[in-house]
């Protein structure tokens, strides 16, 4: 049975992520213990709220190097929502730029759509080669709730990432797969059967 750690750095609805990953059959632990985070087969980095607050939580825990080392060693990491956003070079909220973990290229910035937050169930467009989205119907919908996103799709593709996109007036990165690093802007743990299928795909690769 694959072991998964959901990183507890003071952000996010950890219970939901824990239950959703456990539903796939994985052995899940919610913990702030960095040794456990380094040792698990898979690491989930959740996150809700402000970019700066999440980065502050990551830094306070000293989790940045653990995440980076996992990625460098080809060991799976899954960032969710703001837990995805902090994997990028930086984020800009309310005019303040906060440095991220720099594991994905680009800046996370405010959506320009008329209706903000982007809240609710939206479809995505996945590349055929996507592992996370394998087997999911094209009309599958995932639950999004965010006002900021990574929009530099070309930079991601240039870095070799597989980019699943969504559109909320403008296209943005809904999910990214780059080597062992996976990330979703939506909440698979809140996305019903579609989210369950995605998490099963991720856990199957651990």
């Amino acid at each position: 049975m694959a072991s998964v750690v959901v990183l507890d750095y003071g952000s996010g609805n950890l219970r939901s992520a824990e239950r959703a990953v456990a539903r796939t059959g994985a052995d899940v632990t919610v913990t702030a213990d960095l040794a456990a985070a380094a040792a698990a087969d898979g690491l989930v980095v959740p996150g809700v709220g402000a970019y700066a607050a999440c980065m502050a939580g990551i830094e306070k825990l000293g989790a940045g190097p653990v995440i980076a080392q996992r990625v460098a060693a080809g060991r799976p990491v899954l960032g969710i929502c703001v837990g995805m956003q902090i994997l990028f070079d930086s984020g800009v909220e309310h005019g303040v730029q906060t440095e991220g973990l720099g594991l994905l290229p680009g800046v996370v910035s405010r959506l320009t759509a008329r209706r903000i937050p982007h809240m609710g169930w939206n479809t995505v467009q996945a590349p055929d080669s996507s592992t996370l989205m394998a087997g999911l119907a094209a009309e599958s919908r995932f639950y999004f709730v965010h006002s900021y996103a990574a929009g530099d799709l070309e930079a991601l593709r240039a870095a070799g990432a597989q980019v699943t996109t969504a559109v909320h007036d403008e296209p943005f990165a809904a999910a990214v797969e780059l080597g062992s690093l996976c990330a979703a802007q939506f909440h698979p743990e809140k996305s019903g059967d579609a989210g369950y299928a995605l998490l099963c795909n991720w856990v199957a690769g651990l």
Partner: protein, 292 residues
């Protein structure tokens, strides 16, 4: 590729039990919010809303247990409202497994609460509920009224007698405000003196992530949503608006969305099995709306 219109059943929960009568086939215990939540999830609900109507603070722990057990068994978003007065109230609900928290009366008494919650948890967690009643001065025609607002009237217990006031507790209002609806508390019985449209704009500016717009006039009538109210609020905010109050027939939902609602919420029509989530979604889809 646009976000789907959400269909949201709402459960009133008192001391851990569903209050309003529920007539749902194949439930072992129709009074158990957890079992009902799972049934709605299976029926295609896009989100769930629990309204905690527990009067006694002693019984609040029971509600938390219900939230906890629901979050463990349902994999769609859960909003919990009722009696939320502080950042720590929000924290407790989020830790129990709520994804969003509904705030109503406490934000009227102290609007700063909105910013405090948004700053701590992000605005996406904050659903600002407005219980709205038409003021007496407004015609009931389904158009955005242009009736002048009555300045300075105090919020009188008894709701509609408070009559279309604006400029209450910190709300910018007066001339130009498309008034005609008053924010109420205590199930619509008590007026606040707040113009509902001005208050909606204000809460959006203060950091609310979403507005739950509940028409107390339409609530329980099953005569349809207050479309003019939806239009008036839609015109002044960019955050999502959930329409509530008045749903009775399947054909009521499409006009609410056409009026500007991003989501539709109903209680008794779903609980009593008069309408299914699937029927509502089919009607929305037929009208060209994206649904899940």
């Amino acid at each position: 590729m646009t976000v789907a219109v959400r269909v949201i059943p709402c459960l009133d929960v008192d001391a851990g039990r569903v209050v309003k009568g529920v007539n749902f086939a194949d439930l072992r215990d129709a009074g158990d919010p957890v079992e009902l939540a799972a049934a709605y999830d299976a029926a295609g609900a896009d989100e769930l809303t629990f309204l905690d109507v527990t009067a006694s603070s002693d019984d609040r722990g029971t509600t938390l247990d219900v939230v906890r057990r629901t979050a463990e068994s349902v994999f769609i978003p859960l909003t919990v409202g009722g009696g939320v007065r502080s950042v720590s109230d929000v924290d407790v609900l989020l830790r129990a497994g709520a994804d969003k928290v509904g705030v109503n009366t406490a934000a009227i008494a102290r609007p700063e609460l909105i910013g405090e919650i948004a700053e701590h948890f992000g605005n996406q967690v904050l659903v600002l509920s407005l219980d709205v009643r038409r003021s007496r001065t407004v015609p009931s025609a389904p158009t955005v009224p242009s009736a002048p607002t009555v300045p300075g009237g105090a919020g009188v217990p008894g709701g509609a007698d408070g009559a279309g006031v604006s400029g209450g507790a910190g709300v910018s209002g007066g001339a130009g405000v498309p008034g005609g609806w008053e924010v109420t508390t205590h199930g619509g019985r008590r007026g606040t003196g707040l113009d509902a449209v001005a208050w909606a704009r204000r809460v959006a500016e203060l950091g609310a992530g979403e507005i739950l717009l509940n028409s107390m006039d339409a609530d329980g009538t099953k005569a349809g949503f207050d479309l003019a109210l939806i239009e008036a609020v839609r015109a002044v905010v960019d955050i999502p608006v959930i329409a509530s109050g008045g749903a009775g027939r399947v054909e009521h939902f499409v006009p609410a969305v056409a009026a500007g609602a991003d989501a539709v919420l109903a209680a008794s029509v779903f609980h009593f099995g008069e309408l299914t989530i699937g029927e509502v979604k089919a009607s929305l889809r037929e009208a060209g709306n994206p649904i899940r």
